[in-house]
Amino acid sequence: MENRLIATSSPHIRSHDSTTSVMLDVVIALVPALIASIYFFGMTAAVTVALSIGSAVGTEALIQKITRQRVTINDLSAVITGLLMGFNLPPTTPWWLPVIGSFVAIAIGKQVFGGIGNNFINPALAGRAFLVASWPVQMTAWVNPGSVDTVTAATPLALLKGSPENLQPLIDVVLGRIPGSLGETSAILLLIGGAYLLYRKVISWRIPVAYIGTVALIAFITTDFNLTYTAYHIFGGGLMLGAIFMATDYSSSPVTNKGKILFGIGAGLLTMIIRLYSSSAEGVTYSILFMNVATPLIEKYTAPRVFGTGGVRK
């Protein structure tokens, strides 16, 4: 035969999914919360998120150019890191905070370890932890929605810890009309985004359900079975953003089904320990980072049972 045939090994057909299509789904799922963020906190929210994304994508491209790797910014993973970084900043943030945060997230949180798929911690949370440690004042300058650069306000979780009599109405908490990080406040829109990701099979239910369920259970018990306070714990902080979008990061969470459940329970437990017993009102960031580090160990002990090795009767 004159023309050469392609002789690769099976399978000879592939699914239409690609890394980019998966990441695009995550971006789509974050759009409602982004719109809410701009609606509640104004154009500064848009500028902050834009700077954050720009810095993340720019850093990734720059590092890949310098180290002579294939530039993979088209896979949109840096866009997600930038989006999540921006979502984790307070509305009054100075312009350089998102830029530094995303730089640290991509450079130290991701590229140092080999880029996409190899980061053992969530890059955006690594960036956030760095910012909180370095500029604690700017990172906790919460304001009420619609009143940017005015008086600082307390988040529901801070009020829950200090003066629960001043808590915002629960409906505002669910909708997102409360002080908090840019993207974390609208619980309902984050849930809609999560539902989309479940429908598209981008994430499994296991981590979010185990995580939120554990927080709910502990909150319910420790608030003397007060459903209202429990609801504030669930909707009032960074739990929705963390449980649906951060804890489910593929690279830094377990690949096994049982492992995902354990990961969620562990993150929920740590979140509530920090919220209840530390000086900080919120604990989502550090609990996820801690569980990220535990992921290889969790995977080791939660390997699936191989077909034909017990379980079902012969």
């Binding site: 035969m1 023309n3 050469r4 045939l5 392609i6 002789a7 690769t8 090994s9 099976s10 399978p11 000879h12 057909i13 592939r14 699914s15 999914d17 690609s18 890394t19 299509s21 998966v22 993979t72 896979d75 993973s77 080999g114 880029g115 996409i116 798929g117 190899n118 981008v202 499994s204 593929y250 690279s251 690949v255 096994t256 089904n257 390997a303 699936p304 049972r305 191989v306 077909f307 034909g308 090795t309 379980g311 079902v312 009767r313 012969k314």
Partner: protein
């Protein structure tokens, strides 16, 4: 997506692509000018040629004798003159000693071909002998000699026969057409195997994307209460032996074990028909139904075709190539083997010839694993393909073995679903090969 029907855990729903041929009746392909019949078409020992260059042979005549137990004899599919006995490319990879016959078009039938009598009059041992002497092998792809499967060791009690009519590979419709057009042969063959195995229960499993076949076979089994039809959920790899047994009998074949370890024997639809023919007419396995399909063939068809016909002749009979050829596959797109030439013969295990254009053939560019775990969720034997592949590529074959690489059935799901387009099966196969080598070596040291 339908949720009806028996099934297994894991698996995927690849596009079917069966519409090209599923409604086309089986056509009888003309006898080609020349056939090339490999002397190994099965898993097991090669056959010894019993003809010489220049000999005149007739249809059904023995040309390759099986000397070992795990082997299956080879017969002439045409009448004509033996031209050469030499190594030729085979669709399963290596160059294999083959008998090349120039056909005379007479299709004179060999004197040894006589009906074997009624099923009622044949003993289980006689049936096994007929199956063995007719060169019948598994026709779903792997090609394990059938007489070995129907002769389990004394300590393995077989209580269920499953006939595999799942045909879960996309594109392929040969079993589908056989079920529609030859239901009586399927019943006869099934009853013959039941008798040979001494089992009183048989189940014919059919995926529910073939409702017409389910209807026809249900009708055909009406008067045989010991044969039933199981409707299977359409999901790949429903026709994989382990997945099929799990779906139909709710039993897991033990890791490293065989279906007979759970008292089950599985036979493919084509194999069952071949057995029926061998008893009724005495004709050994010399022809089969092959689906010729894909994006680069003019008129996709289901062909009844002589073993030894070249892929090229089969494609020419389907109108030839419709555009520049990219890939030529023996079998289906999930587990089939890509060929480097169209001068390879159709063998007993060729269920389909997939002809793909350039566009469908270009392998995608792999990128980093993003650990999405789609390969884990799809794996029908519950492995962690990403872990095996990673360790294999790093040369850490002991770790790959610890992740149960040897349980991989190479169904191709992990590579199919991977959004990063990583050819996971390739590296898992590599690990399996290394592990087998290592085990052989350590056995050698012990011995």
């Amino acid at each position: 997506m339908n949720k009806v029907g028996l099934t297994f855990k894991g698996g995927i729903h690849p596009p079917h692509h069966k519409d090209r041929t599923e409604n086309k009746a089986i056509e009888i392909a003309p006898v080609p000018k020349e056939v090339v019949i490999p002397l190994v078409q099965h898993i097991g020992a090669p056959c010894e040629p019993v003809v010489k260059v220049g000999d005149y042979v007739k249809v059904g005549q023995l040309i390759g004798e099986a000397k070992a137990f795990v082997s299956a004899p080879i017969h002439a599919s045409v009448s004509g003159t033996v031209k050469k006995i030499e190594k030729r490319p085979s669709p399963v990879g290596a160059r294999i000693n083959s008998v090349v016959i120039a056909t005379d078009g007479e299709q004179a039938i060999h004197e040894s071909i006589v009906p074997k009598g009624k099923l009622e009059d044949l003993s289980p041992d006689e049936l096994k002998t007929i199956i063995k002497n007719s060169g019948i092998t598994g026709m779903g792809g792997a090609g394990f000699p059938t007489h070995v499967k129907v002769s389990p060791p004394q300590d393995k009690k077989i209580d269920l026969l499953i006939i595999n009519g799942a045909e879960c590979e996309p594109f392929l419709t040969s079993d589908h057409r056989v079920m529609l057009e030859m239901p009586d042969k399927i019943i006869n063959g099934t009853r013959a195997i039941m008798k040979a195995l001494n089992v009183d229960k048989a189940i014919i499993g059919i995926e529910n994307n073939k409702p017409d076949a389910i209807k026809v076979i249900k009708e055909a089994v009406k008067e045989f209460p010991d044969i039933t039809v199981a409707e299977l959920r359409t999901k790949y790899p429903q026709g994989g032996e382990k997945s099929l047994i799990y779906a139909v009998a709710n039993k897991e074949v033990p890791s490293g074990g065989l279906p007979m370890d759970v008292g089950v024997v599985v036979q493919n639809i084509g194999t069952v028909v071949a057995i029926s023919n061998a008893i009724e007419t005495g004709m050994p396995l010399v022809e089969r139904v092959v689906t010729v399909t894909g994006s680069a063939v003019k008129e996709p068809k289901n062909l009844m075709i002589k073993i030894g016909t070249s892929f090229k002749d089969a494609i020419d009979f389907c109108g030839g190539y419709s555009e520049e050829l990219g890939k030529l596959i023996n079998g289906g797109p999930m587990m089939g083997i890509a060929q480097y030439t169209d001068e390879v013969p159709i063998i007993k295990g060729t269920s389909g010839i997939l002809v793909l254009n350039k566009l469908d053939s270009v392998p995608p560019d792999p990128t980093n694993c993003i650990r999405c775990a789609k390969c884990i969720h799809g794996c029908p034997v519950y492995l962690q393909p990403l872990m095996i592949s990673k360790n294999s590529l790093l040369g850490r074959f002991d770790e790959a073995e610890a992740y149960n690489a040897m349980d991989c059935i190479e169904c191709g799901i992990c590579s199919f679903v991977c959004p990063a387009k990583i050819p996971l099966v390739d590296s898992i196969r590599m690990a399996k090969k290394e592990i087998v080598e290592k085990r052989k070596k350590s056995e050698g040291v012990k011995g």
